[in-house]
Amino acid sequence: MLPVLLFAAEQPAVAGKPVLPMIVLGTIMTATYVVIAFEWLHKSLAAMLGAIAAVTAALLFGVFKDEPTHSAYDRAVHDIIGHDVGVIGVLFGTSVLVDIAGRSGLFHFLAVKLVKATHGNPLGLHLAIAAATVFFVTFLTITPGTLIMVSLVLVVTKELDLDPKPYVLTVAICANSGALMTFASGVCTLMLGTAGNLAYMDFFRVSTPMALVSAGLAFVCLRWFYRAELAAGGSPQERAAKVASFDEWALVKDRGLFYRCAIILAGTIIGFALAQKLRVHIDFIAFCGGTAALLFSGIYPEEAIRKVNWSVVLFFIGLFVVIGSVQESGLLDWQARKMIELAQGDPIVTMMYVAVFVLALSGVVDNIPVAATLIPIVRSMQSQGMPAEPLWWTLVITANLGGNSTPVGSISSVVALHALEKERGIKVGWGEFLKIGGLITVLQSGLVLLYLYVFARLGWFPARS
């Protein structure tokens, strides 16, 4: 290690910045990602440790300079966190709202209604589960949406004596399509949407059609792959009677809360859609929605606030500080320049490179660090004259769908497969998942590349606000 550092110290500056801090900070960032990917430490702890190491190194190497109004430390920590505080605001607001909506039984109620509408028909049930997964993740984000749908699948398939595996995998894979439906459908999506200043309504033009098409494609693949397991068994009348015995009202503990939640959720979504016209950011709307939920839910605020995913908030803060330090060292600008050079300055080729890179990497690494690292690179590319809109949308789509290729590529797969094994003793190995998940990822990747190419070629990407 020492010879490398000595060698680096002797290297000429890159674009006016010394190489040694780039290498050290780049190593800290890579080490943080490796620790997160292999789960050697809890991801929040890994990010916080990475942040401490990055800030220490950045200050030692003088990456951040003292300014008349800001000390180097202010710039290394407070400015970076302040810059990304919008994401934390959205996370807080949506976490509170989603927790209270979950407790109201609103989504559980809708899920049971939908299942009853299928009368236990396996094809209808499979389709309903895929559609409900996309719908629930759209409004509840990926983890709560997946948890509700996997729970439902486990209970329904047991009652109907069906193999739960195809249904659970449908939830795991379709959830990633749901995460790119709207600005606030997934943590990764809202992080990219905030960073790229993408308008809520523009998601319906670019990302929602892709979400629906990719979910449809996944559904067809799963249907074909598990055609034997999805074949109907038993009598249709018996299945219909069993499904009819569900009573959705048994899920509603507080009808007032149930209706209030529906209103607040609808109001928040309308607020998201109108945010641009109201000249506020999404985090303000999310904050208002969360506060309204706290005010009108009748749930003790302390209890609801405790449910905010503080672990993700800490993870973000740590990650932002690590990436902010690396960015200041100039390493990410250098990477951006190299990518543009590799694409010979062609915006569409650059976009394709980014798409392939993110699709491949998201399968093995949590998509949040991947997206968080790409954000400053895209910003740098933009400052070097690259059109930014195609790159932001590329990140939104590929970071969410890339996770379908492996059982550890997305939180929905991790949750769904763990639940399947724990509740029903059915293990889906890497081999089996790679066959179906890999097939779906290959087809979805082809579709995504074609989709992005058409959008870029025809200039369909909406201009950012």
């Binding site: 559980h108 899920a111 049971v112 009652e159 959705e248 009202w249 048994a250 899920l251 007032g256 639940a419």
Partner: protein
């Protein structure tokens, strides 16, 4: 999977199982042609009269006032004579509440709770008429199991709750009873099975059918319904919820004084600041 997610999933699975196994439960439609209010000359008389008039109004029933009774037998005889569907009495009977407070119900009320053929409304602290109206718009029903007594208590509560009012079902897993069971079969029940979250899930399944029936009734009759699962001592838990605003408590109990549910009802009446309807 992280612990919190595993816990949330167990909760979701329990909710769906509750929906699946919800036994169809039918609420009864209680009838009451007359209400008997027994007065003892104490400072609770006016409140007992106001309650009796308000409850009679819910059923379109007559109110009979009975003064000067000194025994439960006299009150019960008057109830039979007038064919009443509900008896309202100040508790303790024959003395001001400040004299006995929460030490004893007095012999008359003890006997009424064991012998009455109809529900008994036990009136505690004297309140203004407006507070009686408020109590009838915000009822608390205490139940430990989904049994015939819980169904009867809830049926009465639904009938009494004012349109636009609120009914709270407090389903309490009795800590004392659980402790006895745990001591009895300690080796076969894990402590996790008796953890509050696990008990919540068990109660969600047990009360599923009743909750569904209540929500439908609430939707039709225009009152709000909230269900809460608690673990604790029954009377203590319910009184903590009801006493600050002197809410009307409704509970179902067998007449046999040895029954645990009967003891819970007596404890509720002893500790209540508002009125308690023992069905």
């Amino acid at each position: 999977m992280e612990f919190e997610e595993a816990d949330r999933m167990a909760e979701d699975v329990a909710m769906f199982r509750a929906a699946l196994h919800a036994r169809p439960t039918a609420l009864v439609d209680p009838s009451c042609k007359a209400v008997l209010v027994a007065l003892d000359g104490s400072n609770q008389d006016t409140t007992a009269q106001t309650y009796a008039a308000a409850l009679a109004g819910r059923f379109g029933a007559r109110v009979h006032e009975h003064r000067g009774a000194t025994t439960a037998a006299e009150i019960l005889q008057a109830a039979v004579e007038h064919q009443v569907g509900l008896i309202a009495v100040p508790v303790p009977f024959g003395r001001d509440i400040s004299e006995l407070r929460d030490e004893s119900l007095g012999f008359v009320v003890d006997m009424l709770l064991q012998e009455a053929h109809c529900p008994v409304l036990c009136v505690r602290e004297p309140v203004e008429a407006v507070e009686v109206d408020a109590a009838l718009a915000d009822l608390v029903v205490a139940a430990t199991h989904e049994d015939q007594y819980a169904v009867r208590a809830l049926s009465w509560a639904c009938r009494l709750t004012a349109r636009g009012g609120r009914l709270t079902l407090l389903a309490v897993a009795d800590r004392d009873a659980l402790e006895e069971v745990r001591l009895l079969v300690a080796e076969t029940i894990s402590s996790e099975a008796l953890a509050p979250a696990a008990l919540d899930r068990a109660m969600a399944q047990q009360f599923g059918g009743l909750i569904a029936a209540l929500q439908r009734r609430g939707e039709a009759d225009g009152f709000a319904l909230r269900v809460e699962f608690r673990v604790g001592r029954v009377a203590e838990t319910v009184l903590t919820e009801a006493n600050p605003r002197r809410r009307l408590i409704v509970t179902g109990a067998p007449r046999e004084h040895q029954a645990l549910a009967h003891h819970h009802a007596v404890d509720l009446v002893l500790g209540a600041r508002g009125a308690v309807l023992v069905v």
